[in-house]
């Protein structure tokens, strides 16, 4: 029964408030006690940065020029990341909700309450009545611990993580095609590629520092083909922009491959020696001539032709993709159709030839390797594989019969919460009320719970629904490893002690397990001890961490897994021997037919709504919506509308309009731009409650990866004759042209 009853009070107590200066204000005369090399907490480039510490407070940063991935570069989120450590909104002590108000509690009271409630629920409804929802912004140690906590600590089958909203389509596609889930090439290969295909990735805003490599490639004379329904900064800078209809990626990819097959730009030797199922795929591909592809995707056939020739004729080339093609009910198919291009041209496993998915969260790669996924065990082992189950149980010392079966994806888990199958909930490192599709349903799920525990360092939109909120730590207050988008395992270092009574996440989880009588499986006193167990647990799996140590990471500036032995240097590039990870060592083609998204525009909802990110905010915004600088740049979501569409609907620039889908509606200021397709609208999703783009999105899932379809649903725009200006427009003293036009 965890409703939000006193929102005003919660907002007053816990924010989001804006904070925009280091502790004690800006000063140029600080005496820095310590410079701690670590990494940015946000996206999966995991840029290196140095934190400046004065009197146990993080007071600034200094670029880390010597870290090879970013060489000091940072995006605005990275630059301001240090401001969150001493933010006034930080949760400093455990909170228990009593009579609708969060009240300060001691750790003992809070933990005892959690334990007694969990035990009560499990006794009454069975072990599986508790769901765990974890995240990929945690260090790998913690993600490993969360998987173990669910299975060995609580004995529930229901655990999943927010990578389900992020990486799973790519992971499933990779596993199906290559038998392994990892970006195949290091970033350093990008500048060596003649042609890059960037599909559904606005790396300029979501992965800014990758642009360093993209522009190095450009400086080497390289070309980019960008596939995106919007002319993003990335698409603008590209040489060829295929502005497709949302959700028609398969047609475009098949169309390009069709051109390459027709022009005989494929690598027959590679196909014959290293792959399976080409003939069936070829038959499908032959149907997708540029004209057919053009009809489906609305990309001019000429451009598909050009793109196919450009990539096909190039000696080297790489394909990179991100959520734009993955957030679909056809997400896995979209991924596989691009992998088909890679395999057919044999552009893999060599410098400048390769394939990679652009990970979303900081530890999007590491977080999907060690068993916090519903069906996964450490080292990318599977819960469905008896051998894998036995190995992990042996490492844990857990009787095999105690290891639960595989669970379900997070969206399905929330369905089960609504249906009453899951009664207790433990969430850490996520904010479903912003990031899950159809937030109105998500709210019902949370309100339907008997007992809800949340760990976070800021009160998120989801934390407000919890019965107990425990104060966790930011990245600057704990150590551990993460794996960035190129599968480079790097080390986050501790800069300062947690503020107030805040505790590290791993301590909280271990302590709950201990109090539930499962302490023997959670006898950890430091992240290093967890990592050492993880190394053993992952040994022999695909994601083999056994040879990685903290010291080695420091020495080599990161270690690429797999790294099976202590003297192994790591594996920056996969498939160098053209051997893949299926039992017959061959890669697999998949014949993919185009299927439309689950919901297509119709007379009632004539526009395609797609969602995404802005450079100033990170994911659910729980961290970034509190930092003054970032909020100033982008204080609220908006809806991008093409001028033709706006003209037809008589909408002015900056006017607030109502966007309606079958699931909900929201009011957003219109940003009228020619950089989007006339039949498409776009809303960034970082905000919660009434501002959430996910009030509108479709929770339809990909049948394989169970990823929701964030990137395509049907919507319409209604004029509401609002005179309220956008927040940014309001700040200016002089009137903008749009205000003048409106006769103000």
């Amino acid at each position: 029964m965890s409703k939000v009853e006193n929102l005003d009070r919660i907002l007053e107590q816990f924010g989001p408030h804006l904070h925009d200066a280091p502790d004690g204000g800006w000063a140029a005369d600080r005496v820095i006690d310590n410079v701690v090399p670590t990494h940015c907490p946000y996206c999966a480039v995991q840029c290196g940065l140095n934190l400046l510490v004065e009197k146990n407070k993080v007071v600034g940063f200094e670029p880390r020029y010597d870290f090879p991935v970013n060489e000091g570069r940072l995006c605005p989120k990275g630059v301001t990341a240090y401001l969150q450590t001493h933010h006034p909104d930080r949760l400093l002590y455990p909170l228990i909700k009593r009579n609708g108000y969060f009240e300060r509690a001691s750790w003992d009271d809070a933990l005892d309450l959690i334990v007694s409630k969990f035990q009560e629920i499990q006794a009454k409804y069975g072990k599986d009545a508790i769901g765990i929802y974890s995240g990929s912004s945690l260090t790998t140690e913690k993600t490993y611990l969360m998987g173990k906590f669910a299975r060995a600590g609580l004995g529930t089958r229901y655990i999943d993580y927010n990578g389900r909203l992020c990486m799973v389509s790519a992971a499933a596609g990779n596993n199906k095609a290559f038998g392994i889930d990892r970006a195949a090439n290091p970033f350093a290969d990008i500048p060596l590629a003649e042609v890059l295909i960037i599909a559904g990735a606005n790396c300029a805003e979501t992965f800014p520092v990758l642009n360093k490599y993209l522009w190095e490639q450009r400086d080497n004379g390289g070309r980019w083909i960008v596939i995106d329904p919007r002319e993003t900064a990335t698409a603008r800078q590209g040489d060829l922009h295929l502005q497709l209809k949302p959700g028609t990626d398969v047609a475009v990819a098949n169309g390009m491959l069709n051109v390459m097959v027709r022009e005989n730009l494929i690598d027959e030797d590679f196909i014959a020696n290293s792959t399976n199922d080409w003939e069936a795929t070829r038959t499908v591909i032959e149907k997708y001539t540029p004209d057919v592809a053009s009809q489906i995707s609305d990309v001019p056939a000429k451009k598909i032709e050009q793109a196919g020739l450009l990539y096909g004729r190039a000696k080297t080339g790489m394909i990179m993709h991100a959520r734009g093609i993955e957030h679909h009910t056809n997400g896995v198919n979209n991924v596989l159709s691009y992998i088909n291009i890679v395999l057919a041209t044999g552009k893999i496993g060599e410098p400048g030839k390769g394939y990679g998915t652009i990970t979303g969260q900081g530890n999007g790669q590491g977080g999907r390797e060690h068993g916090q996924k519903a069906d996964q065990l450490p080292g990318q082992r599977s819960m469905l594989n008896a051998e894998h189950r036995k190995y992990v149980c042996d490492v844990w010392g857990l009787p095999e019969e105690e290891l639960p079966e595989a669970g379900v994806s997070v969206v399905e888990m929330f369905d089960k919460m609504r249906e009453g199958e899951i009664k207790g909930f433990f969430s850490l490192c996520n904010n479903g009320m912003v990031s899950l599709p159809d937030t109105n349903k998500i709210r019902q799920s949370l309100e339907n719970l008997e007992f809800n525990v949340n760990v976070d360092f800021f009160m998120s939109e989801s934390s407000r629904y919890a019965d107990v909120v425990l104060p966790g730590t930011t990245w600057a207050e704990d150590e551990g490893v993460t794996a960035n988008s190129e599968a480079r395992v790097i080390k986050i270092n501790k800069a300062v002690d947690p503020p107030g009574e805040a505790k590290t996440d791993w301590w909280i989880v271990c302590e709950i397990a201990r109090r539930m009588g499962r302490g023997k499986y959670f006898n950890f006193n430091s992240p290093r001890e967890i990592f050492d167990e993880l190394r053993v647990a992952s040994k022999g799996g695909n994601a083999d961490y056994y040879g990685i140590t903290y010291e080695k990471i420091e020495k080599q500036n990161g270690v690429f897994w797999m790294c099976p032995t202590l003297d192994h240097p790591g594996t920056p590039r996969l498939f160098e021997d053209k051997k893949f990870y299926h039992p017959d060592k061959k890669a697999k083609f998949h014949p993919i037919e185009y299927k439309p998204p689950a919901e297509v525009p119709d007379a009632e909802y004539p526009l395609a709504l797609t969602t995404g990110r802005v450079v100033y905010q990170y994911l659910s915004g729980n961290q970034t919506r509190r930092i003054g600088f970032l909020v100033e740049q982008c204080p609220e979501p908006y809806v991008e509308i093409h001028p033709e569409t706006a003209l037809a609907l008589k909408i002015n620039d900056g006017e607030r309009v109502k966007v309606v889908s079958r699931r909900g509606e929201g009011v957003f200021p219109a940003l009228i731009v020619r950089t989007i397709r006339p039949d498409t609208i776009f809303i960034p999703y970082h905000w919660g409650e009434q501002l959430a783009a996910n009030q509108l999105t479709n929770p339809a899932l990909d049948p394989i990866s169970k990823i929701p379809e964030y990137k395509a649903c049907a919507a319409r725009i209604e004029k509401i004759h609002s005179r309220e200006l956008p927040i940014l427009g309001r700040n200016r003293k002089g009137a903008s042209l749009s205000e003048v036009r409106r006769g103000k």
């Binding site: 800006w26 670029p63 001028p643 200021p669 020619r674 427009g729 903008s736 036009r741």
Partner: protein, 218 residues
């Protein structure tokens, strides 16, 4: 100082990392002295990063009634000397690049001084350190230019006036100077009907970089 800055606007992704990082500089702690402006958000995502170009004959210094703006031996045009600056804002409105900022409450002008606290010690300025794409780079001419396909140009023409700067602009063409004559219009707008023009005037999002005022108050 042999190093200088190289600005390549076509690489700019408009992330304003430089704007955030600029505040970390010791000479103007907490205040950003760099601009990233949308050139026309209705039409394009293109943005223009503007740092001080450090003119060889700085208009700002010459129009200063208090003689407060000095150029040092490295050719870096410094912020106004604090005891002298009268906050008259002549520099703010005279600068051909729209660079200097002022604050009335402090009676002070400040501007980009190429992070002199860092560059005088051999470190890169903050903006050039963090810029993800290399739209703002700092280094020696012979280190940066051979790596690029763009052409470094430090001559700017504003109407009849030639302005030469310490900082280079990287041009994607063979021009030898940048000519700013008239207020310009984005290519994409050419050929639009009047109705379409009116539909996409200057976007409200274009204004976000100047929260306070039209005239560069920090």
């Amino acid at each position: 100082m042999q190093e200088t800055m190289f600005i390549d606007p076509q690489r700019c992704i408009g992330c304003r990392s430089c704007v955030a990082a600029c505040r970390e500089c010791s000479t103007h702690k907490g205040y950003s002295m760099i601009f990233v402006d949308h050139i026309d958000r209705s039409e394009t995502t293109a943005t223009m990063p503007t740092v001080c170009m450090h003119c060889t004959e700085p208009t700002c210094a010459l129009v200063c009634p208090a003689d407060a703006i000095k150029m040092n031996e490295d050719g870096v045009v410094m912020s106004a000397l604090k005891p002298r600056c009268l906050d008259c804002r002549n520099c703010v409105n005279a600068c051909p690049f729209g660079v200097p900022k002022y604050n009335t409450a402090m009676h002070l002008q400040m501007k980009c001084d190429m992070c002199y606290d860092r560059t005088s010690e051999g470190l890169k300025p903050m903006c050039a350190s963090v810029c993800p794409t290399g739209a703002i780079s700092f280094g020696k001419y012979e280190q940066i230019v051979p790596l690029r396909r763009t052409k470094p140009v430090n001559a700017h023409v504003f109407g009849n006036q030639h302005v030469e700067t310490k900082v280079y602009l990287m041009l994607p063409t063979d021009e030898t100077e940048v000519n700013i004559d008239g207020c310009g219009v984005f290519e994409g707008r050419i050929g639009l009907t009047g109705e379409q023009q009116a539909q996409t005037g200057e976007s409200w999002i274009d204004t976000q970089e100047e929260q306070s005022d039209k005239s560069n108050e920090f």
